[in-house]
């Protein structure tokens, strides 16, 4: 049985997923850096070494994400919308009925609507501003002297969340700074931030798309505080994908496996 690889060249991180027989074998994430293709190539080589297979055992590699066109190591590429829609076939928890995907990425957030067969019906994106994205969370975490992985747990301890009204990352940042100066508890500030992010993203949603369940993907889904804020704002259950950060990469790998064992051009892959 062949291996299939999906590469997701995002704005902040490069994610890779290795699948075989519709099972996720391994995932890896590295900073995108300036040499996208070089990093991607190293990740593919790493998969080969760690799992003891050679380039000939790779059926197909698909790339997605912002830098998908420069990842020469891949055989073909696919847009992130399609990749994410495919990814949930492997990452959605049991009992999830295909409906809406909320993807919180490093520098954009998107909502994808699926029909019953996981096909994309529609989507909306916010890629014109960083508000409501992972980058925004990172900036706020830095101001509050914490790390991105602590942002969620801390916010859940909040007793009276602050109101954060700014819709722009730069203004929200100054708003947070002024809240800090007024000695507000950082847990309340973080909780307020999650609520404001959730509100902003919920506004992007189409009101007439109500079928199926809601699933969170992307690095943002790792934030339990943001997840709670979504459930509160939507007043509905929100599922979290397995390997949320790798949903796009897993989707790309799955599409690669659908492409079958085409004879691969091994250009650039020094194996």
């Amino acid at each position: 049985m062949k291996y299939y690889i999906g590469l997701d060249g995002g704005s902040t991180y490069l994610k890779a997923a290795l699948i075989r027989g519709n099972e996720v074998v391994e995932t890896e994430v590295r900073s995108t850096g300036i040499d996208n293709n070089g990093t991607a190539q190293k990740m593919v080589e790493g998969f080969c070494q760690r799992h003891g297979f050679s380039a000939r055992d790779i059926g197909c590699i698909f790339a997605t994400g912002y830098s998908r066109k420069v990842l020469d190591v891949a055989d073909d590429d696919i847009s992130e919308i399609t990749a994410h829609a495919y990814g949930v076939r492997l990452t959605a928890p049991k009992g999830y009925r295909p409906g809406m995907i909320i993807d919180i990425g490093g520098q954009d957030s998107k909502i994808i609507y699926l029909d019953r067969d996981y096909a994309v019906k529609n989507f909306s994106m916010n890629d014109k501003c960083a508000a409501g994205t992972g980058k925004f969370m990172e900036v706020i975490a830095q101001i509050l002297e914490t790390t991105i992985d602590q942002v969620g747990p801390l916010s859940l301890e909040s007793k009276s969340p602050c109101d954060i009204n700014s819709t722009c990352v730069v203004f929200a940042q100054s708003e947070v700074i002024s809240l800090v100066a007024r000695r507000y508890d950082r847990r309340d500030i973080l909780c307020g931030m999650h609520q404001s992010m959730a509100k902003r993203i919920v506004k992007m949603m189409k009101k007439n798309e109500k079928e199926g369940d809601i699933l969170m993907t992307g690095g943002g889904a790792l934030n339990i505080g943001l997840h709670a804020a979504f459930e509160e704002e939507l007043m509905r259950d929100v599922y979290v994908a397995g390997w949320p950060q790798f949903n796009g990469a897993i989707g790309a790998a799955l599409i690669a496996s659908g492409r079958g064992d085409r004879h691969r051009v091994q250009a650039g892959l020094g194996l």
């Binding site: 919308i81 399609t82 096909a119 994106m125 890629d127 014109k128």
Partner: protein, 430 residues
């Protein structure tokens, strides 16, 4: 000329103005030439497309009047609601001046509120600089009042040109038609005054015949387009329709006849850009006007084909001929009013069920698989109708994407990401 406007009041050009003028011209030419090049780079051009592209090149790259307009009295019109037949009846030639120009937009941007639409800002920019012959040389500007922005631009243009604001009704019942007939009589009077020639039964009938020839050639073309999907690139058809803005109807019609003959001679198969795999998209919404054709170009550069165009620069303005039942002068005027108002799918009308019918029909006629809803920033009337259109298309199982854009190139990457995903979505559904 620069300096004739309210800014200086001087007649001579200062050095600053001269340098501004040469920079404006260079920037404008560069952008327009780039978009014309991209239109050509799509390839598979019928030979008879050349005169249409030459017209756009003449107006926007050479910044000169097309030969067919030289020595003619030009009447600027801003919408399909102003009947061209009347202009021809007065011995003049209508030109459509709605603009999609980025350079003119950047000049006009400062003179209108931020939320005004880019179309009127670009018009204002061209008129203010006085550098564009086709705007400068108009004896009259007829501005149908179809939205608030058009109303205010009519007022602003009056500072430099003679302007006739054409009052468009908000409904389509008999009373509204009567009101529009009266409005057209007023328009006829102004045209007679401006041109000094009388509009008679004979000249109006001849004007209607002239426009009728263009409409006939267009109907021939549309019949081909419906019968053979993917006959031509949608962007090329767009260029054909835009060239009609700057050519007398008979000149455009004879170029169109050559195009039709070429397509007819070609027969099935050869030299068609659309393979079966290309998702067939329709564009609807705010006007798409050269050189702001980034959305249609992206659709076709990214692997789709623009199979249908429901915007007002497309076939909307010409596809419905005026039907004369009563052959008196008044009968012809009524026919013009009926034609302008009843079938029009412009959101200026309070009830615009007409547009829903039109969209449904076009989806079927052109076997459309997805719809791109183009919204120019500040174009409220079109944005208002988005939800209804989305709902209706949803019932038909046709996906739709709302793309908001402005007159600049800064949003191209974002438009690209959306269109790529939308085209993929349709490919995966098929």
């Amino acid at each position: 000329m620069m300096g004739t406007g309210r800014k200086t009041g001087k007649t001579g050009k200062s050095g600053i103005e001269e340098r501004f003028a040469s920079r404006f011209l260079a920037k404008q030419e560069k952008t327009s030439a780039k978009y014309l090049r991209r239109v050509e780079e799509l390839g598979e051009m019928p030979e008879a497309l050349a005169p249409f592209l030459d017209t756009l090149r003449r107006v926007y790259v050479d910044m000169a009047l097309p030969d067919a307009l030289r020595g003619k009295t030009l009447i600027g019109t801003y919408c399909v609601m102003a009947p061209q037949e009347l202009v021809y009846a007065a011995g003049a030639v209508p030109v459509k001046l709605c603009s999609g120009n980025y350079t003119a937009f950047s000049v006009g941007d400062g003179n209108a509120p931020r939320d005004a639409c880019p179309l009127v800002k670009a018009v204002e920019g061209f008129c203010e600089t006085g550098l564009m012959p086709i705007y400068r040389d108009c004896a009259l500007m007829a501005v149908p009042i179809t939205c608030d922005c058009k109303k205010k631009i009519a007022g602003m243009l009056a500072a430099r040109s003679r302007v006739f604001p054409l009052q468009v009704p908000a409904g389509r019942d008999d009373g509204d038609i009567t009101q529009y007939v009266e409005e057209l009589y007023r328009f006829a009077g102004i045209l007679e005054d401006v041109t000094g020639s009388e509009i008679s039964w004979e000249t109006l009938a001849s004007g209607m015949r002239q426009v009728g020839r263009a409409q006939y050639e267009l109907s021939r073309f549309l019949a081909w387009k419906k019968a053979r999907h993917g006959l031509m690139w949608g962007t090329h058809i767009l260029a054909v329709m835009h060239a009609a803005s700057y050519l007398p109807a008979d000149v455009w019609a004879s170029s169109m006849r050559r195009l039709n003959d070429e397509l007819e001679a070609k027969g099935e198969g050869s030299g068609r850009p659309a393979s079966r795999k290309r998702p067939r998209l329709m564009i609807t919404g705010s006007p798409v006007i050269f050189p702001n054709i980034k959305v249609p170009l992206l659709i076709e550069e990214l692997g789709g084909i623009l199979a249908a165009d429901e915007t007002c620069m497309g076939e909307r303005g010409m596809s419905d001929p005026a039907v004369v039942v009563d052959e008196s002068f008044d009968g012809m005027m009524r026919a013009l009013a009926n034609r302008a108002v009843r079938p029009c799918s412009c959101p200026t009308f309070a009830d615009n069920t007409e547009r829903i019918y039109r969209i449904r029909q076009m989806v079927r006629d052109y076997d459309v698989q997805g719809v791109v809803y183009h919204v120019l920033r500040g174009c409220l009337v079109y944005d208002f109708e988005y939800q209804l259109v989305e709902e209706v298309l949803g019932e038909m199982g046709i996906p739709v994407i709302r793309l908001e854009s402005d007159y600049n190139e800064e949003d191209v990457e974002q438009l690209k990401i959306r269109l790529e995903a939308f085209i993929e979505l349709i490919k995966f559904r098929a």
